[in-house]
């Protein structure tokens, strides 16, 4: 067997907590000043205990976290077709170049004169993001998709307020939308109006017409939607919302699907956030950091969150500097202590420069090719696509509704069984409106052979479920732990290690 999907015993060993390796007085001596300096602070300000941190050697730390790392699935080790997450290859050069000492050591408040290298990258990144979205201005400061959404809706509100329409506080959100969309609307003090999805995956236009009104602030749309299909009536949606005086917000989490093929600006969107940690392949890091850069059309440009990089001429050479509240008096404000996730932005910059003009389009093309191929192959093997009549975008949905009913194979079962076969699971149970839903996003960086092996694994699990569902339900078996008790986790909260009582 030349595949890479045979679950196999390993040489890994269970890893205790770092606290359990601690011994009083042990230290990684090279890592702190050789002597404790006299701080001479008054006792009233001092703590009278010692915080319980591990006391371990440098080798213990290295060994502990190296071993822990080996307990993760990751893009670098496994196919990771997590829908809506764009788990594509994170080029290593993006990391090494963003971590050059000159970049790492620069203080955020260092004057622009001592940051022209960094700022040039940021300015050019802004320009490239404008180009790929068809927007007029970009701010890089939001630190993840959700903060980008916040910035977008806050700009929409600021726009209405500036026009004396502060009462516009209704945000329309399709029922299939990502949870951050409605949550963001609430954070911006808005009311959410949920929009139903039609059976073919498009938005219900009639419902939209009924939903808009004088209080409409705007709509938040993901296109292609989280159902993995392109909203064909986007023009009509845009016209309907604009006619009602609302603005259109584009959730750019799925930008990978259309990069270089269609510009959100052309579709009629007024504001967009991009997940640079998806489309532009900055790492997910086990949960973050990301970057949710926002782009806007002319109308919203005055409200962009600060800072933004501006370019001027000085001594006949370009000079870059931060634009602040003084340059953008109508800004919705700063959203972070400094300028956002600079190091993430550097990684995205390197990635985009390596893709180049042609590479942008190819991302969408091959992400879409992979998704449609995988969808077709799974359908041929008997799996049920949620939207069989539609083209897949960069992702698609398989529903196990039938399998759940006939043999009891749930999306969760299948997800866990995939782990034993060396594949990370797709996104499960999202979007919620599709029962026993698997949202599958292969991304453009995976080979056809990998997709074929994934199909083999899916088929094998489905077969196994027919003959021996209990075996499937006992998965995973090869992971460091097997199915975990989530109910116990939430009931008997154990959220931090505490030293056992002495004696």
């Amino acid at each position: 067997m030349t595949g890479d999907a045979t679950g196999q015993q390993g040489i890994r060993v269970r890893e205790p907590l770092i606290f359990e390796k601690s011994r009083p007085g042990r230290r990684a001596t090279a890592q702190a000043p050789a002597a404790a300096a006299e701080h001479a602070l008054p006792a009233a300000f001092l703590r009278d205990d010692t915080p319980v941190l591990p006391e371990v050697s440098e080798l213990q730390v290295v060994r502990h976290f190296t071993r822990l790392s080996q307990q993760n699935f990751s893009i670098d080790t496994h196919f990771y077709p997590l829908g809506s997450c764009t788990m594509k290859y994170n080029p290593r050069a993006c990391n090494t170049l963003a971590m050059l000492p000159g970049f790492l050591d620069r203080h955020p408040l260092a004057p622009a004169e001592f940051g022209q290298g960094f700022l040039a990258c940021m300015y050019e990144l802004q320009e490239m993001l404008k180009a790929v979205t068809g927007m007029k201005a970009v701010s890089l400061t939001p630190m993840a998709g959700a903060q980008g959404e916040f910035a977008g809706v806050a700009m929409i509100r600021a726009y209405h307020a500036a026009r004396g329409e502060a009462h516009r506080n209704e945000i329309i959100v399709p029922d299939a939308a990502h949870g951050t969309n409605p949550a963001t609307a609430t954070m911006c003090g808005c009311v959410v109006k949920e929009l139903p999805t039609r059976d073919d995956g498009d938005v219900d236009l009639d419902a939209l017409r009924r939903a808009v009104g004088p209080n409409t602030a705007g709509i938040m749309l993901t296109n292609p939607s989280t159902l993995g299909v392109f909203e064909r009536h986007i023009r009509e949606v845009a016209a309907t919302v604009h006619d009602a005086g609302g603005l259109l917000y584009y959730d750019g989490a799925n930008l990978n699907a259309i990069l270089g093929k269609v510009l959100p600006g052309d579709m009629g969107f007024d504001v967009i956030h991009m997940n640079l940690h998806k489309t532009f392949s900055t790492p997910h890091g086990g949960g973050g950091p990301g970057s949710g850069a926002v782009g806007v059309g002319q109308r919203l440009a005055p409200f962009l969150p600060v800072p933004v990089v501006g370019r001027e001429e000085r001594d006949g050479k370009p000079f870059y500097r931060w634009l602040t509240e003084e340059d953008l008096p109508q800004t919705i404000g700063p959203l972070s202590a400094f300028m956002g996730n600079a190091g993430v932005l550097l990684r995205a910059y390197v990635y985009m420069r390596m893709l180049g003009r042609e590479g942008m389009r190819r991302v969408a093309e091959f992400a879409t090719l992979n998704a449609n191929y995988l969808a077709k192959r799974l359908a041929e093997e008997g799996f049920t696509l949620a939207f069989p009549e539609r083209r897949a975008s960069h992702e698609f949905i398989v529903t196990l509704k039938r399998e759940a009913k006939t043999v009891g194979l749930t999306a969760m079962d299948l997800a866990k069984a995939l782990l034993d076969r060396g594949f990370h699971a797709p996104t499960t149970y999202f979007p919620l409106l599709v029962p026993e839903c698997l949202l599958i996003e292969p991304t453009e960086t995976e080979t056809r052979e990998t997709l074929d092996r994934f199909v083999d694994a899916m088929v094998a699990i489905a077969r196994e479920a027919e003959s021996d569902i209990e075996r499937v339900k006992a998965a995973p078996r090869s992971t460091p732990v097997r199915r975990l008790d989530d109910v116990q986790a939430a009931r008997r909260l154990d959220l931090a290690w505490r030293a056992p009582p002495a004696g």
Partner: protein, 452 residues
Amino acid sequence: MPFIPHTGDDVAAMLATIGVPDIDTLFDEIPRDLRVDGIPGVPEALSEMEIARLMHERAAQDAGMLSFLGAGAYAHHVPAVVWEIATRGEFYSAYTPYQAEASQGTLQTIYEYQSMMTALTGLDVSNASLYDGASALAEAALMAVRANRSVDSTRVLLAAGVNPRYRQVAQAIAGHQGLTFERLPLDAAHGVTDLDGLDEGGEPPVAVVVQQPSFFGTLEPMDALTDWAHRRGALVIAVVNPTSLAILKPPGAWGQKGADIACGEGQPLGIPLSSGGPYFGFMTCRQALVRQMPGRIVGRTTDVDGTPGYTLTLQAREQHIRRSKATSNICTNQGLMVTAATIYLSLVGAEGLARVASTSVARTRELAAMLTAVPGVRRRFDGPHFHEITLELDRPVAPVLSGLARAGILGGLDLSRTFPELGNALLVCATETKTEGDLRRYAEALAEAMRT
């Protein structure tokens, strides 16, 4: 095709399987007139070799200054282990640990992190990170409003020593839900909250925000402030520097009952300065408030065999479950930075962190002594300082800083525009990374800059 593995044969075979003649057909649901042909605004692709050269040149361009800037981001020694391990592919390229069985490495790390942060702050529970210190304060304020049922108010009071940018960010974020942020009076001699000037009337505040060490580097009387705030029915939100907690009294021990929520900037814990990010915001609180916490939380549980393991828990607080009723919209957080901070704290331990803290305090004290020996330079505030100190010059700060910059020194932060009431104020910082020679170099350059 960088990063795309498809051969011509692959494409042909895949199109045949799908049953379309070409890739373009796969986009036929997009209205034709919306489709674009290429993105002229993006330059031609560079090979890795080419971009590497460009980035090396740009990074070199920004290097080489001796910096005494602090003001919320601190130059500390970052052990080599931290990033050699944190950037291992298994940590670097994993997603949020939704599939717990496939993510025990990340989950156990977060559990260890939560344990460390609660130990440092003296509180019960910690989340798995927020974006940064400033946005963490915004979240803390929103959380306090949800949690404080005893006061029906959205009035938040901030000590004058809270980082002014944090206040702006809190306003920008939490203002949308009606929260207002007001400043408490400053004791202009000591650079701490004027306890006598505290207003006992007006609408009762829902929360009081205090920062230790203060933005000016001074140490606030936290016991008194905490008790006063609690007396007024407010929750106490502590903005703290995690390094300082190795030696300073933790929020959980302030006053009679302790602060209710602690938050702040995690950057000092092994995160490079990197022009401002990525850093991470941390947040801890009392057990009773855990269900109002924003962000992810990891819990320990057992698997079907009884083996202990780790999983995301209390997810009903979060946007992917509760949508518009969630405690926050946060989804992606700053995970990898937390991995780095956990490694950092494991390496330095309590003793190492205390040495970092006390050495930084001592260095700043030495620096202040050298700088105030320069004619025209004096301390702005009396009393103890942590690892930053506010100086006052006898002339405008900006030209002096320019003079220092010409000598290769970033001399600190000019406060005169943000805090005109403080005069020609300059905020300087020296951590354990600065040698005696560095301090002397600064003092000599300052003497020179003040001479001209």
